[in-house]
């Protein structure tokens, strides 16, 4: 069990104030708008920044009024969005730098299909390969706590899917408690068993991915957030062009609605779905 009760002023307008418990083995996703304090929270857990309050991991005190355990002495793995590999070392050396456990190193390289790249230097690798190395490096310490700061947001969709699977495999295999910052709803749904939404340094939602992320109310079954790109008058009706995710949709709206809605505003589009057609 990880007990956290911390407070930190990030800037005059933003104070991080968090009180939560994380169970061992949990996969916790943290989401929310940028500037909500998500990255700072991970950095506090890693000991890279200081805060007031208490962090207790099992029976170990990581932070309280008198102690602040150094990052070196916390049993964590950290994956940065920008990889942060040691650019002077080969893939294999990056892993062995953490601990000289050759067996574990080989196992991790095999697991993530990096064996044939083990003697390459980081600058010769693609983004996906770099992030794989970074993930393997984080596991070399057999961390109790794995912290992932938007690990996949710089990668393309296909690479993201592959790495999601690898993260899940490693999480299960090593029995780590994993915290991941992510903006990708499907990624969170696939990986996490708990999700928290941060806003202005505070937790505003906390629950299972299904209860937090499925934004339907009442009997609505389809519900999407989108941005109005345009409102057009077609004969006697009005049509709003709404951008939802990476796709555009035309939604019929009334004259009254057309008056009240503005181009550029964020709206929720929802409908019931009695007999939707699913095709590939």
């Amino acid at each position: 069990m990880i007990d956290i009760d911390i407070k930190k002023e990030i800037n005059p307008n933003l104070t991080l104030e968090l009180k939560l418990q994380i169970k061992e083995g949990e996969f916790l996703a943290i989401t929310g708008k940028s500037g909500a304090g998500k990255t700072t929270f991970l950095r506090l857990l890693a000991g890279l920044e200081r805060a007031k309050g208490k962090i207790r991991v099992g029976s170990d005190i990581w932070l309280d009024n008198s102690t602040c355990r150094a990052p070196q002495k916390r049993e964590i793995g950290f994956v940065f969005q920008e990889y942060a590999l040691f650019s002077n070392m080969s893939v294999k050396q990056n892993l062995l730098y953490v601990t000289k456990d050759i067996k574990l190193c080989q196992e991790l390289l095999e697991l993530s299909g990096l064996e044939h790249l083990q003697d390459r230097l980081p600058h010769t690798l693609s983004g996906g390969q770099k992030q794989r190395v970074s993930l393997c490096r984080a596991m070399m310490k057999r961390p109790k706590l794995l912290l992932l700061d938007e690990p996949l947001s710089a990668l393309d969709a296909e690479m993201r899917q592959k790495l999601q699977q690898e993260i899940l495999t490693l999480h299960k295999k090593f029995g780590t408690t994993t915290l991941m910052v992510s903006h990708d709803v499907s990624e969170i749904y696939k990986l996490a068993n708990r999700v928290m939404v941060f806003q202005n340094g505070k937790i505003i939602k906390d629950g299972t991915p299904k209860s937090v992320l499925l934004k339907t109310s009442g009997s609505q079954k389809f519900s999407f957030e989108g941005e109005i790109l345009d409102i057009q008058k077609v004969d006697v009706i009005f049509v709003a062009i709404v951008s939802i995710g990476q796709q555009l949709a035309e939604i019929v709206i009334s004259q009254e609605e057309a008056k009240n809605l503005k181009i550029g505003s964020t709206v929720r589009v929802s409908t019931k779905a009695f007999a939707p057609i699913i095709s590939i």
């Binding site: 890693a46 890279l48 150094a70 990052p71 070196q72 002495k73 916390r74 964590i76 793995g77 950290f78 940065f80 920008e82 942060a84 590999l85 040691f86 650019s87 002077n88 730098y97 953490v98 601990t99 600058h123 970074s134 490096r137 070399m140 310490k141």
Partner: protein
């Protein structure tokens, strides 16, 4: 012609530069690492102190060093009383003076090299369980090779090329403090233009080749990183 050529001033210059570069490297490595990592309010003060030798006239710097090392000052008196040694007008004094004079040329490239490193990479090393010292040696230094080379070579070359401070603190004692630049100055004063030409051309040649190899290496290294 070369038989009458006295190499001693050059040997003295290079010996001085070699010793000064080693001392400064060992002293400035922790200093520049500290300056690059700290957000202390004393940082601008320390940076000003280390940069002073660049802007101060060598005569001013030389005068202060001469005063500080002479027996009239506590430092000079201390060395005289406890080590029975004088620090002015001899090679030891020259080493101390040159260390102060060349300090910024070692600190500044190293510091900007360290500052250009990805902070996340260093943090990744701390999280991997490595101390600041081990991170410095195994991650930071190997990733600032061009800055490392620049600082060492430029410090060396700058020490070989110094004149004012050396003249003030060391005088011009043959085999002891008469380095190449001082020797040339004396030749010109005594209108020995032939030797002044030879010495100067020699200095010019060395300085050019040293700087040229640094720039060549740094260019290659940058291309290699792409």
């Amino acid at each position: 012609m070369l038989e009458s050529f006295d190499f001693t001033p050059f040997i003295l210059s290079f010996k001085l530069a070699f010793i000064v570069t080693i001392i400064l490297f060992l002293l400035c490595l922790p200093l520049s690492w500290y300056l690059s990592q700290t957000s202390s309010k004393f940082k601008p003060f320390l940076e000003t102190i280390t940069a002073l030798p660049i802007v101060l006239p060598p005569s001013v710097l030389g005068f202060y060093i001469l005063w500080a090392l002479s027996q009239n000052s506590p430092i000079g008196a201390f060395f005289q009383d406890y080590f029975d040694t004088s620090l002015v007008f001899n090679f030891k004094g020259l080493v101390i003076a040159s260390c102060l004079y060349s300090l910024p040329f070692m600190v500044q490239p190293l510091q900007s090299g360290f500052e250009s490193l990805d902070a996340r990479m260093l943090e990744a090393s701390y999280i991997s369980g490595k101390s600041r010292f081990e991170t410095l040696l195994r991650v930071a230094l190997p990733n600032i090779k061009p800055a490392l080379l620049t600082s060492i070579i430029v410090t060396f070359a700058h020490t070989v090329g110094e004149f004012g401070v050396v003249l003030m603190v060391g005088g011009s004692i043959p085999n002891e403090t008469k380095v190449a630049s001082v020797a040339i100055y004396e030749m010109v004063e005594t209108m020995d233009y032939k030797n002044a030409h030879i010495y100067s051309a020699f200095m010019l040649g060395i300085s050019f080749s040293v700087l040229f190899s640094v720039y060549l290496f740094n260019k290659k290294h940058r291309v290699g990183l792409r």
